[in-house]
Symmetry: C2
């Protein structure tokens, strides 16, 4: 038996029917060459043979004196966790996204290991999908993505590759990320603080107190707290909408060069543009620009991975209709935040982030600003695999993060790079943000607008149709 | 806005992730003659046209001063409620039951009208299915079954028939059952009493007090409280197993004649036999016979429908290996209970039932018997349509109740008659009762054993394979 960390426990505390705290990944595969029509059924049979999961996939919750622990599930039942399902005809991406939206709305059974995996057949064009769902108390999104990647191979001829629940991490060199104090965790802490005890995370509480003391003598601390009221920050309900799309990395890279911006800046500008279009549709665009919480690297080069990841608040420039102007606003705000942080100690960065992300905590400390909103949306851009990957000969065609909306953060946008693509995963409360899937078309328009404004060749259009 | 009745509210109070309080029906249809291969997709499109539901399907919960009310959902989103899904290959009943088991485990979103309907394609042999799920706070099982039947027609040529959510009850003569004080409700009241306030149902509380007073001067009241401890009465978890099967009504009728018993008696004897076999498999058969709570008619004839339905406790005779002896035990115990009740006033029957069904309530009143179990399992035999029914030309091949296990009542068996079949629906917690689906084979064996013991012609075997 192993006790849960306070951070992991936070995601149990936060969970309720209208706010499940699981995350997931959707992977899209091509059939291996020469595979028969019933390939997926056969593959499902093979996967069922892996009936003995490795840790943490064999661990369930138990409570001792009110505290949660992990223990081995003595009644492990693979049929509950691994499910072979199918799309209705015509098996388009539309049907796939509808299925993922429905499944992602369902809260998991806490009396079992907190994961589910769905092998999905019936996709058009000799493809299949894998939807892998984990509770955030068990694994954070980046770790889950890494694990879902590590089980794959760069070798299309490799076979007998186990599924993720039977994949022995120790057998491969791994650099497991355990950086749980990411943006989602801070945002979650803020939400928990409203109803529970934020000081369940002692170092967050301490950092907040320190930051608050410092902020009284440094006006720059508060100047960024200016997110407008927006439907993005209404309360959420229990049903989800998931939308996903792949865009060409080359295309985004060309834009970044044309504007002298990072890939991350371009991603933010595209998201800002799409959010503006969506909120205009909904007649809900605030006058002031939306603010996004964004993990960025303190290093100057474009690779986001590396040593020092911090979360900053970025101005998304949604008040202007001009895509080039929006790009400059985004770029300047990220640059400013990054420079300010570069001069801070690790301790100061943590305090700063805690203060920035936890309005409820701030309210607790100060008694001020009860409805204050630090930011409107979370946008994470995560580096993924750089080479094409295969699972028992099936080529990974795309992989999309399925994330976790929270009360007052009804939309989460996570972007993942894979080989020559940028994979956008948008997860929202489908009641708070109706027809959120229209954001996909707005993202494509946003890229086209930036290309046009920069005079780029439109022949470099994305290969969406090929992927989808 | 309309307030919920205390009984309806009970099912909201009782609900938690490991104990969802919805019920459902599964209907199996043949394709209409000459229907194309993509019939189900087309049909799904047609059903999506019915985007404006009628009451109660357009009503969602709202709270005023802590009390629940129904109100119209101003943001009704049919896509959330009506889902077109598919079975993976090979599309056998096995795959269908796996899908229903998974979906029935999922708790609904309370911020929307509390129903979902799944049109299921991919069944072998030109068939499709409809799984209709409702919260018990919105509708009880019998009402849901009646409504799901009323939307159908005896005319195979009728077309333009709306789905249940758009079916205007007022346009047809209906005898809507509102008898919510059924066995499930009493059992639910008992469960609620453990954690909440049983007196939320004033007439139950009053009836219990009356019954308790009376029981002190009448030993027959307590003599029936003798259910053994059994795994059927362990706590449940949040995942379900659903199993269903059709048996020939003629075959059961022949057995009832041979033994001079009612159809209901035969059903109970079969269930007792199957429970005995299942519990022997699990090495968990109690020495003393299992006790079932069973709604029966006070009328003598075989048609269970009619005026006076009461719930009695039946001895299932699981302690004996002899099927004929078990049948006599069941028959005698039902007869005795029915006779005793026939001499009671309506008021007395209600008091008697309340006392019988509510161990927690009894404990509250007496401070005695903390772990006392009044009965082990609920078995309901509900009369359904007597003629073949059609939905837009698709013949209803079978319809199966999907019910609601509760803490300490881990299995619910509901049987429905339809035309020439008896439709068994078994719903259980899949952790508390592993491999519960084996009960289906045991049910078939139980029928064969009774036939053999009575010297009946085995040529009258059921047509299971035809149906499934």
């Amino acid at each position: 038996m192993k006790p849960l960390s306070p951070t992991d426990n936070l995601f149990l505390m936060l969970e309720k029917r209208q706010q499940p705290t699981h995350i997931a990944g959707l992977q899209l595969f091509d059939f291996p060459e020469g595979a028969p029509a019933n390939y997926v059924s056969r593959f499902a049979e093979e996967l069922r043979e892996y009936s003995q999961p490795v840790a943490p996939f064999n661990q369930r919750l138990t409570y001792r004196f009110g505290r949660p622990y992990w223990k081995s599930d003595s009644q492990f039942d693979l049929e509950h966790h691994f499910r072979h399902v199918a799309l209705p005809k015509p098996g388009r991406i539309r049907e796939l996204l509808a299925l993922i939206s429905a499944e992602h709305s369902n809260q998991m059974d806490r009396e079992r290991p907190l994961w589910e995996a769905y092998l999905i057949e019936g996709l058009k064009g000799r493809r299949f999908a894998l939807y892998s769902k984990q509770h955030h108390a068990m694994m954070d999104g980046v770790s889950a993505m890494r694990l879902g990647t590590k089980m794959l191979s760069t070798d299309p001829n490799e076979r007998n590759m186990p599924p993720v629940w039977a994949f022995d991490l120790k057998s491969k060199s791994t650099s497991k990320i355990t950086n749980k104090l990411d943006a989602t965790t801070f945002a979650a802490a803020a939400r928990a603080g409203i109803r529970n005890n934020l000081t369940a995370i002692p170092h967050v509480a301490k950092a907040m107190r320190d930051a608050w003391r410092k902020s009284r003598s440094d006006s720059a601390y508060t100047s960024i707290f200016q997110a407008p009221q927006c439907i993005l920050n209404d309360r959420i309900t229990g049903s989800r909408r998931f939308a996903a799309e792949s865009f060409s990395l080359d295309r985004v890279r060309a834009i970044s060069k044309a504007y002298g911006a990072t890939i991350n800046d371009v991603v933010l500008a595209i998201c800002g543009s799409a959010l503006r279009a969506y909120l205009l549709d909904q007649n809900a665009l605030p006058d002031n620009p939306l603010v996004a919480a964004v993990p960025v690297s303190l290093r100057e080069d474009e690779s986001i991975g590396g040593n020092q990841i911090v979360t900053v608040l970025a101005n998304l420039g949604t008040h202007t209709a001009d895509p080039a102007e929006r790009m400059q606003i985004v770029r300047a705000s990220v640059l400013e935040a990054r420079e300010r942080m570069s001069s801070m100690t690790q301790q100061e960065i943590m305090a700063y982030t805690a203060l920035m992300m936890t309005p409820a905590g701030m309210q607790m400390l100060t008694g001020l600003i009860p409805k204050w909103q630090a930011f409107n949306v979370m946008i994470s851009n995560v580096p993924g695999p750089k080479e094409p990957l295969y699972w028992n000969g099936a080529r990974l065609r795309g992989m999309y993060p399925v994330s976790m909306p929270l009360d007052r953060l009804a939309l989460n946008i996570t972007i993942l790079s894979y080989y020559d693509q940028l994979e956008f995963g948008l997860t929202a409360c489908r009641r708070t943000l109706p027809s959120m899937q229209r954001m996909l078309a707005h993202l494509e328009s946003a890229i086209e607008d930036l290309e046009e404004a920069a005079g780029l060749d439109r022949a470099a259009r994305n290969e969406m149709e090929l992927v989808w």
